[in-house]
């Protein structure tokens, strides 16, 4: 809670700094504050810390703090990775401030207890993103991406809102706990349109998490948006949407799932197939990563799907989001560094190992982690998901997940081969800055640490 308020305050302060033309200290101040916020957030980690704030609209229980920490860590790495792209350029502080507000929205999404705070969080997170996606304002594609995202995003926000309204109409309450109890106590009194509302809510969340058949926006937006924004969307936004979906479908609405479950199951199955097969034939690196990100969304939603029945998997979800975010940030950082806005072909990775060994090695680790190869965090993330599917008896999903990982290995390997076994188009040594190096170092360190000793982080929730 303190961390959340603190970051909101920092956002306002930064706007003030910008207005007072002290923009030079913005990056420094922001980095310090994010680190501070992380400390504050970890300090709140206590047993039975379950008080709601603002008339029980927000509550930072353990899952909320855990996901907040994942988001804050990701944001921290994001700042280091993309600092140099914006530092002392036009529009620097706007971009950092917008990103920070988006993070505040994301934190709200991890901790809501009330329909209003859920929706407000979602919008606080999304609206800065629409602007950020269009932030390369001289490029047509970027504007297109921002516009597309705005139209689609607003439309599905409306769908969610409609769903929430129906649910409110059916139960007369905005608070998720009360809705839950009401449905549990008097199931016969709940009108049918409550379920319609629930389905609309689910569809909205599927859109936000870019699952099939609501995934079409993701490749376009990922491709058009500047790389730092793409990285932001595929990590921080994804983590928060997953945390929100977990809270909605596991904590709140987990006992009336007959219709939900089928929709979710088919959506996951088709996402796994469509995204991986499409990714395997991409030549555009950002579109490839977009489809890979969609495939990871499907993995994450599998955890939520399993969780509808047995509430055991919050560790897995958190570990997966963390592993994926860290690897994804490392990858996008390098992509941003070696390729300009216009260069989108996979060939930018050609011969990277000859140009800078350290950078190539980091990309290698990140890709291996995303592919789920042992001794990286991604392996255990995937392993936990598969174990979870096995324990809960979803064997069809497990086999599909295995096949999907296999295809994933293929397209990640393509990039690795390009890096290590092709001659570079230009063989100059690739100079790297300290900030960038720090980001890469942190991400590869975390990936290897969690790959060797996953219990460090995996055991924090005793369920």
């Amino acid at each position: 809670m303190v961390a959340f308020l603190f970051l909101c305050g920092v956002g306002l302060l930064l706007m003030l700094l910008e207005a007072l033309k002290w923009r030079k200290i913005v990056p420094f101040f922001l980095t310090g504050s994010v680190l501070m916020a992380y400390v504050l957030s970890v300090l709140e980690w206590k047993d039975k810390f379950n008080i709601g704030f603002f008339e029980n609209m927000i509550g930072f229980d353990k899952p909320a703090i855990a996901f907040s920490s994942v988001i804050i860590i990701s944001f921290f790495i994001w700042l280091f990775a993309f600092m140099d792209t914006y530092k002392n350029k036009e529009g620097m502080s706007e971009i950092f401030i917008l990103a920070l507000f988006s993070v505040c929205g994301a934190l709200m999404l991890t901790s809501f207890r009330h329909m209003a705070s859920f929706f407000i969080g979602l919008e606080i997170m999304s609206i800065p993103l629409y602007v950020l996606a269009a932030s390369a304002k001289n490029k047509v594609e970027s504007n297109e991406a921002g516009f597309k995202y705005l139209i689609m995003g607003s439309f599905f926000s409306a769908v969610i809102l409609f769903g929430l309204a129906l649910m409110y109409g059916a139960t007369g309450s905005f608070e998720f706990v009360q809705i839950k109890t009401q449905v549990k106590m008097f199931p016969e009194k709940i009108p049918a349109f409550f379920h319609a509302g629930l389905i609309l809510l689910l569809i909205g969340m599927l859109f936000k998490a870019s699952l099939f058949p609501f995934h079409f926006w993701a490749p376009d937006v990922y491709e058009g948006a500047p790389t730092p924004v793409t990285a932001f969307m595929s990590t921080i936004v994804k983590t928060s949407v997953m945390a929100a979906a977990f809270r909605l479908f596991s904590f709140s609405f987990n006992m009336f799932h007959e219709n939900l479950e089928q929709i979710l199951l088919w959506s996951i199955v088709l996402t796994l197939l469509v995204s991986n097969i499409t990714a395997a034939v991409q030549t555009n690196v950002k579109r490839l990563m977009a489809y890979s990100s969609i495939s990871h969304s499907a993995f994450l939603f599998m955890i939520i799907y399993v969780n509808i029945k047995n509430n055991i998997s919050i560790n897995t979800l958190m570990f997966y989001t963390l592993a994926y975010s860290v690897a994804s940030l490392g990858f996008f950082a390098v992509l941003n560094y070696i390729a300009g806005y216009e260069e989108k072909s996979l060939d930018v990775f050609k011969g990277l190992a000859y140009r800078n060994k350290f950078v190539a090695f980091t990309v290698l680790i990140c890709l291996l982690s995303m592919a789920g190869i042992p001794l990286t965090a991604g392996f255990f993330a995937k392993y936990y998901v598969l174990t979870l599917l096995g324990v809960s008896g979803n064997w069809t999903l497990l086999v599909l997940a295995v096949i999907a990982s296999l295809i994933g290995v293929y397209y990640y390997l393509r990039i690795i081969i390009l890096m290590y076994f092709k001659e570079p188009a230009n063989s100059d040594y690739l100079e790297v800055s300290d900030n960038f190096k720090t980001a890469l170092f942190i991400s590869s360190l975390l990936i290897i640490l969690f790959g060797i000793a996953p219990a460090v982080i995996f055991e924090i929730f005793k369920v």
């Binding site: 255990f380 392993y383 598969l386 086999v399 096949i403 290995v409 390997l413 081969i417 290590y420 076994f421």
Partner: protein, 481 residues
């Protein structure tokens, strides 16, 4: 010691990969000798459980332990790994391989030792993949033409297999645990759970796990990646692949699968036996018509690996021991034969059998060493190949006489292709302009050590058999329950 056998090569590998030492060959060689000493002490120190065992909790919430044990069936293979590394390094000294190769070879050694020592399914899977990654990279970096296509095929096949295996292991995991105990990935728990499962489930899980092993062994029709991968890798890589890597498949089959699911094994064993026997005969037949010596060796290796698989499939105690002995012996002879192919290529510039001939008249010593390795490979009595094949065939005979007769044909076929190639390469008239100089001392030493071991093991197979007796016995405890 178990932990050391795993961690030391891992650290050594990263050290060699990251640092730029000039004396990297000597350092790698010393490291490999240290590993050999370690594996030797572990093999002969099996009676001290504290010495060879290492266990700490790894991921408690899913019941996974970091549990390594250098005893039992795997001990022979740990010893083999420790033994072959210095020999390969010595023999490859003059090839000017880069430090990265040695680094990856050590990481692979960590993986291999991990696979042979792991007593926990998660750890086993991690090490399994850990051993595969360096060899992909070796194939990719130092391979010949078409290396990308070939490595990709190799990669896809093996990853497909291992992911199915993962699914199967997870299924077994879900069956472990009871009212009294938590779920666990440990070998004992999985063995217990496996033998209790209903027949239908056993059949399904057996198929899943077997996929991982059959690709690695490999048996027809999963062998497509193997000959091209063997022939396109540089010799050092081929030696690692055929001498050590292939053993992962047979070891996994023997240790994790065959005794674990008795009913599943009963259901599938006729099919596997048929596949194995077909592979034995088909590969031997293909080897006969090969024109290239390296390709011939690849097919002959396929045939021998299938023989071990057939032995394990029979699930008789002597056949299991025989398979382990044969794995050991095949490690020696396969590396020996690839060493010979390497020498041939370097001295004459080709491995095409047609273009070779009359080497005996130019270098008698080389020809004698070749003959010993070759006789070891065709399993002549008093060479290391014999006890293993004999035990396997006697096990298969108990399983089904027809199978034993068919499998035994391979001994004849093996003699045919091996002796014919010997005859053509070594005897007869040399091509006109060919000279064959004296062997380099490194090559000579490597071959002489291998020959000595081949004969030693042929005369006294109990050296290995005694070491694994207890381990094989343990596996049978589960079956007799």
């Amino acid at each position: 010691m178990a932990l050391l056998l795993f961690v030391f090569p891992l650290l050594a590998g990263f050290l060699l990969l990251l640092s730029r030492m000039r004396a990297f060959w000597s350092i790698s060689f010393i490291f490999s000798l240290l590993m050999f000493a370690g594996s030797l002490s572990a093999f002969f120190g099996q009676s001290y459980p504290n010495f060879i065992n290492f266990e700490i909790p790894w991921v408690p919430s899913i019941g996974s332990h970091f549990h390594l044990n250098a005893g039992g069936v795997g001990s022979a293979l740990v010893l083999l790994t420790g033994l072959l590394y210095p020999i390969i390094f010595i023999q490859q000294k003059s090839r000017n391989l880069p430090p990265a190769f040695f680094g990856m070879a050590f990481i692979m050694q960590a993986g291999l030792n991990g696979v042979f020592m792991a007593r926990d399914a998660v750890l086993f899977y991690v090490c399994w993949e850990l051993a595969l990654i360096p060899i992909y990279l070796i194939c990719l970096m130092y391979g010949g033409q078409n290396r990308e296509t070939i490595t990709l095929r190799f990669f896809i096949y093996t990853v497909l297999g291992s992911l199915f295996m993962l699914a199967g292991l997870i299924y077994l995991y879900t069956e472990t645990g009871s009212f009294f105990s938590e779920r666990s990935f440990s070998h004992e728990a999985i063995m217990d759970a496996g033998s209790m499962m209903a027949e239908k489930k056993q059949i399904l899980v057996y198929a899943l796990v077997f996929m991982g092993f059959v690709v690695k062994i490999p048996l027809i029709p999963f062998h497509v990646w193997q000959p091209s991968a063997y022939t396109n890798t540089p010799f050092a890589g081929t030696m690692l692949l055929s001498g050590l890597m292939a053993k992962m498949g047979t070891f996994g089959y023997l240790f994790w699968l065959a005794p674990t699911l008795p009913l599943g094994h009963q259901y599938w064993s006729p099919l596997i036996m048929a596949l194995a026997v077909i592979t034995i005969l088909f590969a031997a037949g293909v080897a006969i018509v090969q024109k290239d010596f390296k390709e011939l060796l690849a097919w002959s290796s396929l045939s021998h690996m299938a023989m071990m698989a057939a032995g394990i499939t029979s699930l008789k105690e002597e056949a299991l021991s025989g398979s382990v002995v044969m794995m050991f012996s095949h490690g020696l002879t396969a590396v020996g034969l690839f060493v010979i192919a390497d020498i041939l290529e370097r001295h004459t510039g080709t491995t095409q059998i047609q273009q070779l001939g009359g080497i005996r008249s130019m270098n008698g010593q080389f020809s004698n060493l070749f003959l010993i390795v070759l006789l070891g490979s065709v399993a002549l009595p008093l060479t290391s190949g014999f006890p293993g094949e004999f035990l396997i065939l006697s096990g298969i005979y108990q399983y089904g006489q027809g199978w034993a007769v068919a499998a035994a044909l391979s001994v004849i076929l093996g003699a045919v292709y091996m002796l014919r190639s010997y005859q053509r390469i070594m005897l007869g008239e040399p091509p006109r302009d060919q000279v064959f100089k004296a062997l380099e001392s490194t090559d000579k030493w490597a071959l002489m050590i291998l020959c000595a071991l081949i004969i030693l093991l042929g005369v006294y197979p109990n050296l290995i058999l005694n070491g694994i007796k207890e381990g094989v016995g343990e596996l049978f405890l589960n079956l007799n329950k």
